[in-house]
Symmetry: C2
Subunit: 209 residues, 2 copies
């Protein structure tokens, strides 16, 4: 395995676990068993390493996810919200084939992108992968036409918050859950739990006020 990949593989785990700021290049290069200077040699800077990391996942996920959303939009004239959100499941879980714990790691990284580093990654993602958002909004609009643009805006952000926050603390939450309910929990299980929640949330009746 080449140095670049070794760094990416070690970095994504640490970044997902502890956040971008709290993870040092020395930890990364130590785990990756490469020289400290290798990060700056191969990626230029820590910031560029983070971007490369997100790009690796998004390039993998984006086409699959977009085509899943397009499929919903083509097959169903008026899809249910559950159908729309279910379209996310398979593409997200396919990241587990790509990398071990890929789904969990990616979603955690996504969460970190929104809270760490003053949102420069949020900009990077939304400007580089608009197809996801556009197709998603279209599908929601078809599923629930009575929802105003304004309501869609807010409820999609609520949904994003649900997913992102949950995955950022999934590790800890799964620990608590397993202790309290003595049951095995995995990422796929959590995702399937989220779907009815966000579908019902987005589908809530519009306030009459």
């Amino acid at each position: 395995m080449d140095t670049k990949t070794k760094i990416l593989n070690a970095a994504e785990i640490l970044f997902a676990e502890k956040g971008f700021t709290a993870t040092s290049l020395r930890e990364i290069t130590s785990d990756a068993e490469v020289n400290l200077a290798a990060v700056n040699y191969h990626f230029g800077s820590k910031k560029e390493l983070i971007k490369a990391l997100m790009k690796r996942y998004l390039d993998q996920l984006s086409p699959v996810l977009v085509s899943a959303l397009v499929k919903v939009n083509e097959q169903e004239l008026k899809p249910t919200l559950e159908q729309v959100f279910t379209a996310f499941v398979e593409p997200l879980l396919s990241l587990n084939d790509y990398r071990e714990n890929g789904t969990s790691i990616f979603l955690q990284l996504l969460g970190r992108s929104y809270t760490d580093s003053q949102g420069f990654l949020r900009w990077f993602i939304t400007t580089n992968y608009p197809g996801i958002i556009d197709n998603f909004v279209t599908a929601v609009h078809r599923a629930y036409p009575e929802l105003s643009t304004e309501d869609i805006f807010w409820r999609l952000h609520f949904t994003m918050g649900t997913a992102v926050f949950t995955m950022s603390s999934t590790g800890a939450l799964i620990d608590i859950a397993e202790n309290d309910f003595c049951e095995k929990v995995d990422v796929a299980g959590v995702i399937y739990r989220i779907i009815p929640y966000v579908a019902a949330g987005v589908g809530a009746p519009v306030s009459s006020v």
Copy 2:
């Protein structure tokens, strides 16, 4: 105003904006116009400062919130989920009387507590203020008895995610919303938008699987 308060007031704003790790004691003491060493003198360490910060808010919020939840539990044998979540509104907004932008700052800090610093604050909060969680779970259980303890656990965390994430990016979101919809938005307005969403989410039908 004494040094301790000056530090707390400056720190909470910076911590809410940039996170705990990304905010240095030098920034805080500079904004607070006190000496750098004052933090360690009055609080012992940065970690203790953060705890004191959260304690200041939670000591203010906890009794009001608990009594609001108790009231729901006493007045309604089977409250609606909207009633349960509406019980949060007034206590949360009362933080604005306590401190300028108190509601927003507190919720942002709460969000940081869950993602920063490997969850030591999460432990601090849940072990020190169990009354909130207990009464909340009780109310939800009454409103929706068919929901298993496990489902309640997860859906409450989803709800937490919705609120916390939204508030963490409220500044940016309000800007976008006001540009796109040419309408005035404030924190209270966002909170009232969240309620039907989370009420519907928690009230979603339980998966038959």
